[in-house]
C-alpha cells in the first residue's frame, strides 16, 4: 500500500549546469542524482525497487537491516554495499539484481523471518506489511529455520495509544529513531543485546509522546499497533483518499482510510513543504469523532425547552425567517456570524457571500482568542522559510501543544544547526530545549523583553547574520493581545526585512479570513453587542463561544441576550443548547473542497464517506439559506466557490492601542492561560482513544512561589482575581516563571475563565491555602 511508505514529493528541477549533479547507472540505466544523495534514494526514482526495512527517507540511515544490499563496481570487482548508506558518485555502476545480490537479499529475508511469528492472518499489518510483501517478492520461499523462535509476552501497551508485539519486531530502529531524532521523546529504546535485543520503554515511564502514532505508521511490520485501529479492518478492505488535517492550521497531508463508509484511520502523507509525512496524535486519532454517535444527524428546532427534529426545508425556513425578521426590524447589523474556521474555503466563501449580500458586517471566525487577522497581511514566511532561516523568533504559544507538527519541523531545523531560535515565552515550551536563546517575560512585559533583547549585542549580531522569521501567535489568553502586537512591531521596526509565519491555530482560520468571514478582531464587539441586546440573530458556524471565548461571563451574557441563535454544527456543544435552530453540518471526511493552512497554502480536503444522517456541507447550507432569503448568491455547485480570493494589502506593522501592564503586587501571581494538545475540544472529547489524555484543570506554580505561599502541592487551593475566585488543584512546575501562575485552558474540571475579563489587560491572581 502506497501510504505507509510515501516518498517525498519530488521537486522538478531544470537541467541547468549544476556542480552537484552526478550521473550513475543502476542496472544499466542512467540516473541523474545529486551529490550526497544515497543510492537507494536515487533508485527510488527508477523502476528498480531496492527492498529495505530500516531506511526511511526522513530519518538518518543506520544500515541496520542489511536488506538493501546492492553491488557497486569497484577497482577490485563488485563490492557489496548497503544502498541506504552509500552515497551516489559520478560514473558509479550499481547492480541491484545480480545473482549475488538476490542471494544476499534472500538470505537476509530468511534470517528476518527466522524468528518472526508469521501470524499474518491475525496481524493488523497483514496485507500492507513490507516484510510480508518483500518475503513474497524477494524471499527464498520456504524457511529452513526449525529452531524454537524467540518468545515474548504478546502485545504490551507501551502507551495509552500504542501496543508493541516484540515477537513481530524486526529491530529496524525506525520507531526509536523517530522517537529520539524526530520527536525528541526518546522514551522507547533498544534494550538488551544481540539475539535478545528488543524495544522497550522504561518500566514505569510509558511512551507518552504527542507523536507516537507515527511510529505505528512507519513500523515495517505489525510490531507496533495503534489502539484505535487494532483489529478494526484488514488493509485490503480499506479505501483511501488524500486529504489535509484541519485539527490545527499546520495543514498536514493525510490519507483518509475507510471501510464500509466508516473512517478507520488517518495516515500521514509526505508533503515536502508541510509535514514531511508526520502527524500529531491528536490529528491522527481524532478520526473517531467523525464516527461518533453524538453527532447531529438531522435539523432541530427549538420548541420550548427542547429540540424537535425536523426536515431541512422547515429548518431552513425557520432560520430564514429569523434572519429576515432581524434584518427587516433592526437592520443587517442586528445579525452577527461567529465562527467559520472549521469550514472549508468553499464553505467560508459561501457564507461570506451570503453575509455580504445581506449586508451583515458583524462576523468573526475567531472567538477573541487569537490575534488580529492583520497578521496575514504582514510580510509572509512559509514553514520552509522558517526552517531555513538564520534566525527564528518565537513570539507564539507553545508550538508543541498548539501546532504540533510545526514544532517538529522547527525542532528539526534547530537540532540540525540550520536555524537558531530566539524564544520569548512566559513558560518553558517544547522548543525551549532547542532554542539558542530563551527569554522569559511576565505577561504584559513582552515589549520590554523584546526591546532588551534587541539591545543585547550577541542577539543583535545573530539577527544581523541573515534572514529572520517571526513566528507570531497568541501565547496567553489571560492578557490583552495588544502586548504581542506591540512586541512584534518592535521587532519589525528593528528588522524591517523580517517575515512572519502567523500561527493562529484554528484549522482554517486563514481560509475563513481570506474569504472575508473575519476582519480584524470583532468577536468581542459582537459578543458585547449581543449581551447589550443588540443582536437579534446570532449565527454560529461551528463555533462554541461558551467553551472557547476567554471571557466566559461575556459569552454567557451574549448567548443569553441574543434573541435568536442559529447553530450550524456537527456536534452538540454548550452553545448549541442555546440555539433555536440547529442545522447539522457534514464533518471532516464527509465533504470536499480546500483548506488554507497557516502559511496561506491551499490544500485539498477530500470526501471519503457519506455525510452522517442528513447533514450537509456548510456551503450547501449557506446556498440554500440564501435561496430561502431570496438573496441568491449564484452557486450551483462547489465548483462555483473555487474563486481565487483577491490578494490583500500588505501591512508593515499591526494596529496597536499601546496598552501597558500595571505593576504586579508582590503577593499576586500574573496569570498565564494557554492550551495543551489534549483539551475539551469537541473532536478530542468525542474520540474515545484520546479523550482521556487531557491533564485536567489545575494551577501550576514555580516551586519557589509554592514555598512562599506555603500551599500544599496536590491539594486544592483558592485562586482569586478581583472579586471572583475558583478552586483548583495546585501543582509544582519549575518551567513556570517565578511570579506567574499557569493554568491550562479548556480542561476537564474547574473553568479558569470564571476569572477572565475581556477588558483586563492582564490578570493577577492570589493563590491561597484552603484550610
Amino acid at each position: 500500500m502506497s501510504t505507509t511508505e510515501s516518498t517525498p514529493d519530488q521537486v522538478e528541477t531544470e537541467v541547468v549546469i549544476d556542480p552537484n549533479a552526478v550521473s550513475l547507472t543502476i542496472n544499466g540505466k542512467t540516473v541523474a542524482a545529486r551529490k550526497g544523495e544515497l543510492i537507494i534514494a536515487a533508485a527510488d526514482r527508477t523502476s528498480d525497487f531496492i527492498p529495505r526495512f530500516c531506511y526511511h527517507p526522513r530519518m538518518k540511515p543506520v544500515g541496520m537491516c542489511r536488506q538493501c544490499l546492492v553491488e557497486v563496481e569497484g577497482p577490485r570487482g563488485p563490492m557489496m554495499v548497503v544502498s541506504c548508506m552509500t552515497p551516489v558518485a559520478d560514473g558509479q555502476v550499481v547492480h541491484t539484481e545480480t545473482e549475488q545480490v538476490k542471494k544476499a537479499q534472500e538470505g537476509i529475508l530468511e534470517l528476518l523471518l527466522a524468528n518472526h511469528p508469521l501470524d499474518c492472518p491475525v496481524c493488523d499489518k497483514g496485507g500492507e506489511c513490507p516484510l510480508q510483501d518483500q518475503a513474497f517478492s524477494h524471499g527464498p520461499g520456504e524457511s529452513r529455520y526449525v529452531e524454537e523462535k524467540r518468545h515474548y509476552e504478546k502485545p504490551i501497551a507501551i502507551s495509552d495509544l500504542v501496543f508493541l508485539d516484540r515477537e513481530r519486531c524486526i529491530l529496524c530502529d525506525r520507531c526509536t529513531r523517530f522517537a529520539s531524532e524526530v520527536a525528541g521523546d526518546p522514551l522507547i529504546s533498544f534494550t538488551h543485546r544481540g539475539n535478545n535485543t528488543q524495544i522497550l520503554t522504561f518500566p514505569d515511564e510509558p511512551f507518552a509522546s504527542y507523536f507516537s502514532g507515527n511510529t505505528v505508521q512507519i513500523c515495517p511490520v505489525g510490531a507496533l499497533t495503534a489502539k484505535p485501529y487494532r483489529f478494526k479492518a484488514r488493509p485490503w478492505d480499506l479505501e483511501e483518499t488524500q486529504s489535509t488535517c484541519t485539527a490545527c492550521s499546520v495543514g498536514c497531508a493525510t490519507v483518509i482510510q475507510s471501510s464500509r463508509d466508516q473512517v478507520l484511520r488517518y495516515q500521514g502523507h509526505d508533503n515536502d513543504e508541510v509535514n514531511w509525512g508526520w502527524l500529531c496524535d491528536r490529528g491522527r486519532f481524532n478520526f473517531e469523532s467523525v464516527n461518533s454517535e453524538d453527532r447531529f444527524t438531522t435539523p432541530l428546532v427549538r420548541v420550548g425547552e427542547s429540540f424537535v427534529p425536523t426536515s431541512w426545508s422547515s429548518a431552513l425556513e425557520a432560520a430564514a425567517r429569523t434572519i429576515r425578521l432581524a434584518v427587516s426590524s433592526k437592520g443587517a447589523n442586528s445579525v452577527a456570524i461567529l465562527g467559520g474556521a472549521r469550514l472549508a474555503n468553499e464553505d467560508a466563501r459561501a457564507w461570506a457571500m451570503l453575509a455580504s449580500k445581506l449586508g451583515i458586517t458583524l462576523h468573526d471566525a475567531q472567538l477573541d482568542d487569537g490575534l488580529s487577522t492583520e497578521v496575514f497581511n504582514l510580510p509572509q514566511a512559509t514553514i520552509n522559510d522558517a526552517t531555513s532561516a538564520t534566525t527564528v523568533i518565537l513570539l507564539s504559544p507553545d508550538l508543541k501543544e498548539e501546532l504540533p507538527v510545526l514544532y517538529l519541523r522547527l525542532r528539526d531545523a534547530a537540532t540540525k544547526n540550520r536555524t537558531r531560535i530566539i524564544e520569548f515565552t512566559t513558560k518553558a515550551s517544547g522548543l525551549t530545549r532547542y532554542a539558542w536563546k530563551s527569554v522569559n517575560y511576565e505577561p504584559g512585559a513582552q515589549v520590554a523583553a523584546v526591546n532588551a533583547a534587541l539591545n543585547d549585542t550577541e542577539i543583535a549580531a545573530q539577527l544581523g547574520k541573515g534572514n529572520v522569521v517571526v513566528v507570531l501567535g497568541r501565547a496567553n489568553l489571560a492578557e490583552s493581545s495588544d502586548f504581542t502586537a506591540q512586541a512584534y512591531n518592535a521587532i519589525a521596526a528593528a528588522f524591517p526585512a523580517a517575515t512572519v509565519l502567523p500561527v493562529l491555530r484554528r484549522g482554517n482560520i486563514r481560509g475563513a479570513a481570506t474569504a472575508g468571514l473575519t476582519a480584524g478582531n470583532n468577536a468581542r464587539s459582537i459578543l458585547t453587542a449581543a449581551s447589550d441586546g443588540h443582536v437579534e440573530c446570532l449565527i454560529l458556524l461551528g463555533a462554541d463561544p461558551l467553551s472557547d471565548v476567554p471571557d466566559l461571563d461575556l459569552a454567557r451574557r451574549a448567548l443569553a441576550s441574543a434573541h435568536n441563535i442559529i447553530a450550524v454544527e456537527t456536534f452538540p456543544t454548550a452553545s448549541t443548547l442555546r440555539a433555536d435552530v440547529v442545522l447539522p453540518a457534514a464533518a471532516y471526511a464527509e465533504r470536499g473542497g480546500t483548506t488554507t493552512n497557516l502559511e496561506g497554502r491551499v490544500l485539498p480536503l477530500s470526501q471519503k464517506i457519506t455525510a452522517r444522517g442528513t447533514s450537509r456541507p456548510d456551503w450547501m447550507i449557506a446556498t440554500e439559506l440564501a435561496e430561502q432569503l431570496g438573496a441568491d448568491i449564484d452557486v450551483e455547485s462547489i465548483d462555483d466557490l473555487t474563486a481565487i480570493d483577491a490578494p490583500s494589502e500588505i501591512l508593515q506593522v499591526l494596529s496597536v492601542v499601546g496598552s501597558s501592564a500595571p505593576e504586579r503586587n508582590s503577593y499576586d501571581l500574573r496569570l498565564v492561560v494557554s492550551r495543551k494538545m489534549y483539551d475539551n475540544a469537541v473532536s478530542t472529547v468525542t474520540s474515545p482513544s484520546i479523550a482521556h489524555l487531557s491533564i485536567g484543570a489545575g494551577i501550576y506554580l514555580n516551586s519557589r512561589d509554592i514555598e512562599r505561599i506555603g500551599a500544599p502541592v496536590g491539594k486544592d487551593v483558592k485562586v482569586s482575581a478581583s472579586s471572583k475566585s475558583v478552586i483548583l488543584t495546585l501543582h509544582a512546575d519549575d518551567s513556570v516563571l517565578k511570579g506567574t501562575a499557569w493554568v491550562p485552558f479548556n480542561q476537564p474540571g474547574t473553568d479558569i475563565r470564571e476569572l477572565l475579563n475581556a477588558d483586563d489587560l492582564i490578570v493577577d491572581v492570589r493563590v491561597e491555602n484552603l484550610s
Partner: protein, 471 residues
Amino acid sequence: MTSTYAHAPGFVAGDRPKIVTSRFEFADSYTIERYLATNGYAGLRAALSQPAASVHDEVRNATVLGRGGAGFPAGTKWGLTPQEVWPRYLVVNGDESEPGTYKDRLLMERDPHQLIEGCLIACYAAGLSRCFLYIRGEMALAQERMAAALNEAYAAGFVGKNILGTKFSVDIVLHWGAGAYVVGEETALIESLEGNRGMPRLKPPFFPAANGLYGQPTIVNNVETLANLPWLLCNGSEAYTAIGTKTSPGTRMVAVSGHVKRPGVFEIINGVTTFRDLLYGEEFCGGIRNDNKLKAFVPGGGSAPWFTPDQLDLPFEASQVGPAGSMLGSGAIMVMDETTDIPAAALTLTRFYAHESCGKCTPCREGGTWLERILTRVVEGTGTDADLDQLVEVGSSICPGDFPHASNADLGLAAVPFPYKMTTICFVGPSAYAPVHSALTLFRSEFEARVTTRKRIPVTAAASSATGHAS
C-alpha cells in the same frame, strides 16, 4: 593480593629485544618510582624537545603497526585526520576481549606509566587535546593500576596542564566499560564512550579519524600500539626498524594458550618468529602437552580461520598469513592437540560471537544464534547431515562467496586467501562463522561421525546419546 601473579605468563624466555615488556620482571613495575628509575618519561621529554610534526614523522618512519587487530600503521592513521578541525581526541582501546588475547591487560597492570607516556606522545604529535583511556569493565586490577598511575602522573606534572613546563596540555580520562566484546570495535567503542549502546557505526561514513567521538576527528589506538611509543622516541625509528622485517618492524606480544606445555605471553620479533618457533621452541612454549600431536591452531584470535601443522612455518607477517587463508589479528594463538573434540571446540567460539553480537545487523543477530543452535545440536549428537549443509548456508548469508581457509595437503585443499565478503557491519558476524567454516572444511569427518543421515533423532532419544566436551 598474592595470588594474582602466582602464574605469571612466561615472557622472559630467551634473549630477545624487549620494547614493551622490559619492566615486567620487577615486582613493583607499576609504580612511578620504578618507572622513573628505568628511563620512564624519557620518551616524552624527547618528544617535547621537537616539533610535533617531527614526532609524527618518527612514528611514521618506524611503521608502528596497530596491534588491535587490523595492523594499520599508527603514523599513517594519524595522518588521515582532516587538517584544521578541532578539537581532536585520542581514544585508547583497552577493551581486550578477543578470545585468546592477553597482552593489553598485562601492559596496563604491569606498566601503566608506559601506556600513559605513549598516550602523551600520540596526543602531542597529532594535536589531540583530550585522551580517553577505555579499559574493559571486567579488569578491576588494570583499572586500579591505571587510576593510581594517572593520579601519580598528574601529581608529578606529566599529565594535565603545561606538561613538564611546556605549552603541551592534555587530560587523560580513565573510562571503563561494562562487559560487551563488540565494544572493542573502534566505532562501537566511541558509541560506548558517548554513553550509548556499543553498536558499531558503518564505515564509511563514520571513519573515526574524520568523524569519531562527538563527530570530531578521533584516533583510536590499541594499548600495545601506544606502549611502543616511549621506546621508539628514546631510541629512534632506525633502532625500531632494525628489529623485525621491513613490513613488520619491531616486536609484538603474542599469547599462546591451549594445549601447549608452557602457555604464555611472549614479546616476539615481528615478521621473523614463526608459529613453529612459538609452539615448539624451548624459549617459548616448548611443544604440545604430553608430546601429543598438534591438530590445529587459531593463529590470530578467535575470529581467525584456523591453521593446521601445514602452516607452522609461516612467520608473523601479515603479507604471508593473509594469502595462506587467515590473519594475525590480535596476537593470540589457541592450540588444539590431537585429543580435541573439534566440533565442540568450534562451538565455544561460535557461541562466543553469537552471544556477543550487538544485534544491529540481521545476519549477525539472527545468523549467529542460528549457527550456534545447529552446531549445539551437532555436538550433542542430535544433528543430521542436512544440518551441516545448513551451517554453510547460514554462513553464506553472513559471508557470501568463498570463505577463506588454509591449504591442507592431506585433504588436497588449496588456500582461499583472506579476507571475505560480508553482509554485516563489523567482523563479529563473520567471526561466528569462521570457526564453523574452518572446522567443517578441515575436519569434516568429525562432524559427519556425529550426525545421522537425513533424519532427525527425536529429542528424547538424543538426550541419552549426548556426548561431547571440549577437550
